[in-house]
Amino acid sequence: MSESKRTPRDRDELAIAEQVLEVASAAASGADIEVAADRTRLALSRFANSGIHQNVADDTLTVRVRLHAAGRTASGSSTLTNTDGLRALVERSVQAVGVAPVDPGWPGLAPVSPAPDVAPVDVAAGDATPGDRAERIRAFVDAAGGLETAGYCRTSHWTGAFVNSAGQSIRGESAEVGMDGIARLAGTDGVARKASSRLADIDGGVLGARAAAKAHAAADPVELPPGRYEVVLEPTAVSDVLQNLAVYGFNGKMVADGRSFAEVGADQLDPSVTLVDDAPGVGSSHDLDGTPRQRLVLVDRGTTVAVAYDRRTAAEAGAESTGHATGMTSWGAFAAHLGLKPAAGTGHEDFAAEVDGPVAEAATAALVANVERGVLVTDLWYTRVLDTKSLAITGLTRNGVWLIEDGEVTQPLSNFRFTQSYRDALAPGAVLGIGGVAEPQPDSWVSARWTAPALHLASWNFTGGASG
């Protein structure tokens, strides 16, 4: 039986974008025009009760047009990419911009700027088959040693191009592989997940064994009274901290609105914290405005040095776009490839060595060894913001919580609910240690990537047991 293969197309994305720009320029002479063509081949094999139960793929080309004319702006998109469909998209956009309300905040078009240099796409990842995904799931299930398992293996391949009427022309290509799974034992779960741009980096057997070891170590949990505890957050949990910092903290629109705590130039986080948005080859090479993505340091040794902007929010702030337009205007601009810089000189910088038991790898174990009494947390789940300014967040622990005593994991715990300001958790003096290895974590949003080491924090506010 042959496997799914890339469907050939008679035109690449750049040719399609240029054709639409030509049609739009003729229909709306003098307008600012942007055209983006993006083809995504997304495939995801999902397993539960140790068998593949959902197995999906799609191959979708979407063309987006944004017009600004006579002070008014309209945008639209279509998956109808034959000649008639694209012409209809242009006509609809031209009609809309003629009657749209006035848009005084239009920032103008992105200037000509080249695409960033990135490594060539891993062909194996880009052309991964259902068989490739099933092979990794088979290995995960087998490595779990008979425990019930669930999760997914995902592959995606993106090719895209952006052109505008100011002469900007940019194209890119990327591929992503992600795997995320749990092993289950008598009501407790252990988890392992990893993301990479290379198919060969995803070893279902390694992840399945890790998840199973954590599930075994989580068996027979006990309740610990709510309160403030010292914590070690594993990289899986730290990715949630990074995501919330990116979306609500270092988001140029949130800052301009006064809804964020971030203040450029201020010493806001612990001096051990450096946050960098940088994942070359992950997701699109350019943002929705056509600005090339670039490495952006947001926090340098505790000092906020930048926030993320798209063209609109940058213009409002009197700043330059950092290439972080998301296409979701009401959300503003945020860094979707945020990483916490791992600690140097720990001896764990080069690899994430597997260790037995609840602690997934040696770099995290080194942080646990420094805790006299505290809590080890694998995942933070269903986190929601109570107040953006303080970044007060509530959520729950998931997939494993353990008591640490005298540098050793001594007891699995039942899940907690917490209500904690993420800003305060990372405040000066609050970070007691950072792991030496940063692991890329897959996100539900394929083009996002959170790269996190473990974190040792002085205090985390557990406000209740999850069972009541």
């Binding site: 009760n49 139960h53 309209a74 639209g76 905040g105 099933a134 209740g464």
Partner: protein, 478 residues
């Protein structure tokens, strides 16, 4: 080729490639949204997508493939690819998949729509949002925001069993919110709900909301919150407004009764459920005032349709009757596994996504009281309304909600305003404590229900009314 002929070609190709069952959904969707901010339009977007998705069953495994190409050859390729993916599923086989027998339906269905929302001029719609946000700004909002969204969806469904169904569903809704920036915190008031109100109706829904008429009040309430005292911490009697209770129903009842969660199919991501099928029909979920129905036939509610996305005709069903758990949200495959004889709650977010168990309209039947009677009967408590944050565990037991606004209730009357109201609890304990329920039911629409991998956004409806709960923990904060 007609839409049905294209879909039939795709199904036939899947059967030719070895599928024992296949179905195809062709969908054409137009989406329009506009946002306004501080009296000016911020964004206008008009999107259109058209494509076909095929679900094929080979042995014990499903395969799904989708593409926007609609030529005969392309449609056949979609069917073949779906079958090939299903073959790969067999390498890590799940238990044998069977479909619950059901009526093979043919028919058409359209939602009611008095005023086509895509037919209203952009200028009029823009002026509505710009005017309302401008008014909020004038009345004290630091950030005044407005939003409307419109979906116009046509879909054609065929299956290898002979289904042949087309539907036209129009949905729209809108809302406004005011945010004020204080010293170290923000406050927000929204109308009519945190994300607006939505339904399977025309623009008349938005007209009836009267956004301009509520703009000044919303802004002034947001400003007043900055000076209000914190919601006290402790256990008290809690009265919830209908919009907040709608989300409570969504999170702690709707998701908990999804059969795919109960069967463990969502264990690694969305989670499971605290409910055990062995207790279906006997478990006391809530107080005797708690009557929850699954009803996709409610005219105008956001979770309404004529047929679900595997061809089952819409039908009303009890989920909780007199407080006892009696029904689930199911699809044909999950119903077969569970030994149940009903399905009808499977939907997909567009042609490129696999249909899965989703809420339809899951909500309360009316109670015997009014909100005034509930407040008058409360000696000491807190009234909260309008959702601000929501969080619940992966078994749908432990929840914590934040609301935009709270009021003291003292000696049967509303008292002073309270800021940052939150409450937390355990689902069945909370529902068993419901001792008063209003008769004033509104079907609130939730247009942003996330589930599945790849992620899907579902549109759900939740009939709800103000209600009272006893001994609830409130005032949790960082």
């Amino acid at each position: 080729m007609s839409e049905f002929e294209t879909a039939e070609a795709a199904v036939q190709a899947a059967l030719d490639a070895g599928a024992s069952y296949a179905d195809a959904r062709m969908m054409h969707r137009r989406y329009e949204s506009m946002t306004a901010r501080n009296g000016e339009i911020e964004d206008l977007s008009q999107d259109e997508d058209l494509g076909i998705g095929v679900r094929a069953l080979v042995g014990s495994g499903w395969g799904f493939y989708a593409a926007p190409d609609l030529s005969d050859a392309a449609a056949r390729n979609v069917g073949e690819q779906a079958a090939q993916i299903a073959h790969a599923s067999a390498r890590v086989a799940a238990r044998q998949t069977e479909l619950m027998p059901g009526e093979v339906a043919s028919g058409s269905w359209s939602s009611d729509c008095q005023s086509d929302p895509l037919g209203i001029s952009l200028a009029d719609k823009g002026n509505l949002l710009a005017g309302a946000t401008g008014t909020m700004r004038e009345h004290g909002a630091d950030i005044a925001e407005g939003l409307y969204q419109i979906w116009d969806t046509r879909k054609w469904f065929v299956s290898s069993e002979g289904h042949r169904i087309d539907q036209h569903i129009r949905e729209c809704g809108a809302g406004i919110s005011s945010t004020v920036i204080g010293d170290g915190e923000t406050q927000r008031r929204s109308y009519p709900a945190a994300r607006g109100q939505y339904g399977t109706r025309g623009w008349e829904l938005v007209d009836e909301l009267d956004l301009p008429g509520n703009a000044a009040r919303v802004a002034e309430e947001a400003r007043a919150l900055l000076a209000a005292p914190q919601c006290p911490a402790g256990e008290t009697t809690l009265i919830l407004g209908a919009e907040q209770l709608a989300l409570q129903i969504h999170e702690s009842v709707g998701h908990a009764i999804e059969l795919d969660r109960i069967l463990g199919w969502e264990a690694a991501f969305a989670g499971t459920s605290w409910l055990d099928l062995a207790q279906l029909g006997s478990l006391q979920f809530g107080s005797e005032l708690m009557n929850i129905t699954i009803d996709p036939t409610i005219p105008g509610a956001l979770g309404s349709f004529g047929f679900d996305d595997e061809g089952t005709m819409a039908a009303r069903r009890d989920a909780v009757r007199d407080g006892r758990w009696v029904g689930v949200l199911a699809g044909r495959d999950s119903a077969s596994v569970a030994g149940l004889e009903y399905a009808g709650s499977v939907r997909a977010d567009g042609w490129s996504r696999l249909p899965m168990v989703r809420m339809t309209n899951v909500g309360l039947e009316p109670g015997p009281h009014t909100l005034d009677e509930i407040i008058a009967a409360t000696d000491d408590g807190i009234f909260m309304e309008t959702n601000r944050s929501w969080s619940i565990d992966d078994r749908r037991l432990n929840f914590q909600f934040g609301c935009e606004v709270g009021y003291e209730v003292k000696h049967g009357k509303l008292g002073q305003l309270l800021r940052n109201p939150t409450y937390t609890g355990i689902g069945p304990q909370f529902w068993r404590s419901m001792d008063m329920l209003s008769s004033d039911i509104v079907a609130w629409g939730t247009p942003n229900c996330g589930k599945g991998q790849p992620g899907q956004i579902g549109h759900t409806g939740h009939p709800s009314a103000p209600a009272r709960f006893t001994d609830v923990r409130v005032g949790v904060r960082a």
